[in-house]
């Protein structure tokens, strides 16, 4: 199963009771969000609205279909804008 790491630390740890690393059964970004919301109410919404994810090192923003593999490492990070 892919492993999720809360890289942006305590800003989202409020949803996970301090847990910073856990496994999630999901094969796409969308399924990941739904699963996060199911397990940690509020986290999926938070990820969807204001966060980006890095899957095995690559940053994805707003891409539901981004593929997760068994063993994928997923970091949740603040969404990135620019100027």
């Amino acid at each position: 199963m892919p492993t999720v790491v809360l890289s942006s630390g305590s800003a989202v740890q409020q949803f996970t009771a301090g847990q910073t690393e856990f496994e999630v059964e999901a094969t796409t970004f969308r399924r990941l969000i739904l699963e996060l919301e199911r397990r940690f109410p509020g986290l999926g919404k938070q990820v969807e609205e204001s966060m980006a994810i890095a899957i095995d090192g690559e940053i994805f923003q707003d891409a539901y279909s981004a593929e997760l593999k068994p063993g994928s490492e997923i970091y949740l990070i603040p969404k990135i804008g620019g100027g």
Binding site: V5, S7, S8, G9, S10, A11, Q13, Q14, G18, E49, S50, A54, D56, G57, E58, I59, F60, Q61, D62, A63, A66, E73, Y75, I77, P78, K79, I80, G81, G82, G83
Partner: protein, 755 residues
Amino acid sequence: MNYIDSSLKVVGTRPIRPDGVDKVTGRAVFAADTRASGMLWGKVLRSPHAHARIVSIDTTKAAALKGVFAVVSGVDFPEIASEEAFVGEGPMNFRDLSLNCMARDKVLYEGHALAAVAASTQAIADEALALIEVTYEVLPHVIDVEDAMAPGAPVLHADMFTSGVSPKPEKPSNIAKVVTFKKGDVEAGFKEADVIVEGSYTTQPVHQAYIEPHACLASYAPDGQVQIHTSTQGHFMVRAYTAKLLGISMSNIRVNPAEIGGGFGGKTLVYLEPVAVTLSRKSGRSVKMQMTREDVFRASGPTSGAAMTVKIGAKKDGTIVAAQQVLKFQAGAFPGSPIGPGCMCGFAMYDLPNVDVVGYDVVSNRPKVAAYRAPGAPITSFAVESLMDELAIKLGIDALTLREMNAAKNGTKTHYGPVHQNIGFTAVLDAVKSHPHWKSPLKEGHGRGLATGFWFNIGGESSAQVHVNEDGTVTAATGSPDIGGSRASIGMMVAEVLGVPATAVRTIVADTASIGFTFLTGGSRVTFATGMAATQAAEKVVEDLKRRAAQTWDIPVEAVEWKDGMAYPAGSNAGAFEPLDLAALALKAGRTGGPILAEVSVNAQGAGPGFGAHICDVSVDKETGHVKIERYTAIQDVGKAIHPSYVEGQIQGGAAQGIGWALSEEYIYNTKGQMENAGFLDYRVPVASDMPMIEAVLVEVPNPRHPFGARGVGEVPIIPPMAAIANAIRSATGLRMPDLPMSPPKIRAALDAAG
């Protein structure tokens, strides 16, 4: 299709800029140039207080003045629920945005809008503003970020409790959010270190200082249709925000992007548009609004100021084993500083085993901050790159060598999670090493500084259309306002794919009703993401043209090839036909399927991050404290420069803004929390005579995720200048200047203190 290794005829050349004639002859239509029949002038009443409760607003006299058609205040705007959004260039709460456009019960900074009028002339509008009677209960205010965090500081928002800490605080405070990033074990890392350096640094809020103030023209028709002409980096963003803030359906709002006189991130919010639409709805007339330069300073967002501490530990050989940083970013009156990227960018240039970064997003009685080129990165990098210089001095290692030893490479895992891929940082450092500037001896009395910078760059949603006109010329339409040369770069990529000269393609920016959704221009995304959409649209057009040629010759489409802007039979077996060019195919378009066009929308992923390194030589006048930039070289990995002159211009412009940030720009507040230098006479941006020639060196490590290898270039160049200059001043004088701006009074004071 990928063209990175192809022989290119258009991409990489320097055609004359397509917007040049309009701009130098004054024909370009900016938002302030727009007019409408029966148009009224809208003006805003702004708070003279930094923090006050609005006890009452009486608009009776203003409304009664002859020539006044509408007066609005907070009661005319819908109450908006607290809801986070990412429509613009950073996290934004719709309720905060609404309150920022028009205050309700409190004003939170000097310049905060609290009423507006629409009148037949500007003079009458000014007169009406003076007739609005406001009763304030003045409240204590706080300006400085660390003062705002201190116990007992005046609290701006009674319902704001710090998020990101556990347990949830019981009392509200000005700290909106705490974010942390950890990698490895930083305490263990510092125990391994032979040398530890520490420093505290501050930066000031600085304004983007776009030459064109905010302006718009809004018209609310009796059937509810809204037209807005505005100066913005994202007309779809203006549509979304205006719709949300005023409760109007998006389909009833059409936003036309005017030519834009600079943005740099500062035009990724709305200030005037919802107010102008409300005035128009109330008056039944079109309403024009434009800020003065004073309004721009007092009421629109600069970037954050910050207070930071940094600690770095290294082995004697220069290998860094631990790094720690605390950042306190001032957000202005509402939460939303670029603290996230600030925490992520400072150490992103290096391969570090143990990192700990904590960031605070803090509100105070200043205008709400807005994005500014690489938001957060220049601030954090000033601190980190200044301390890297101290580390190099302490270790007795050359500043470049220290960076080479610890440089991030492909495969380096950052402290915030992602792994660097296809990056060109080491190529940039190689270019520093071989550059004549770096190799040249220092002149007597001069000092030399080096600093580096990192920015993510982004992709995102973009739409593009390519039309072949009836005469065979081409129009490319996109939804990206052109703030940095994207009409040129997109037209060139389309021309390259079609095999025609750059001059055969005219690129336009289409309004919100004329093209698919396109995220705003920011994050250095347009040439990458919109360019990807335009390239794919051009490829679809080529496929269609081949099909039409096949139909014309009555041969299979597989027997047609496209080369140099013409369809050819692919080999002798395909038949002997004269090639068909775009004009010939366009002429017969009616017989081969109708108009020739393609539209592609993408959500582009894989934006290649950018790295830069700047070398700066300075001299310091020890009598006046004036710092003169003697020589400046900016080196950057740009992926593939589609139009090298524009890329060099981006780099020079970013460096120039960084030089102002470093040496002269700051907001000066009096004891009442009022800004005392709200104009270009007293808020000192560099002028031409202050500037050296900035040599831009383009390093091209292609981004394999873009068809031509492009990566964003507009933001990286503003990141290194502050530290490069601070390090040069250290080299010239022995003084470490930890507080920006490094203005003559500060240099003089430091020289005096040093004896």
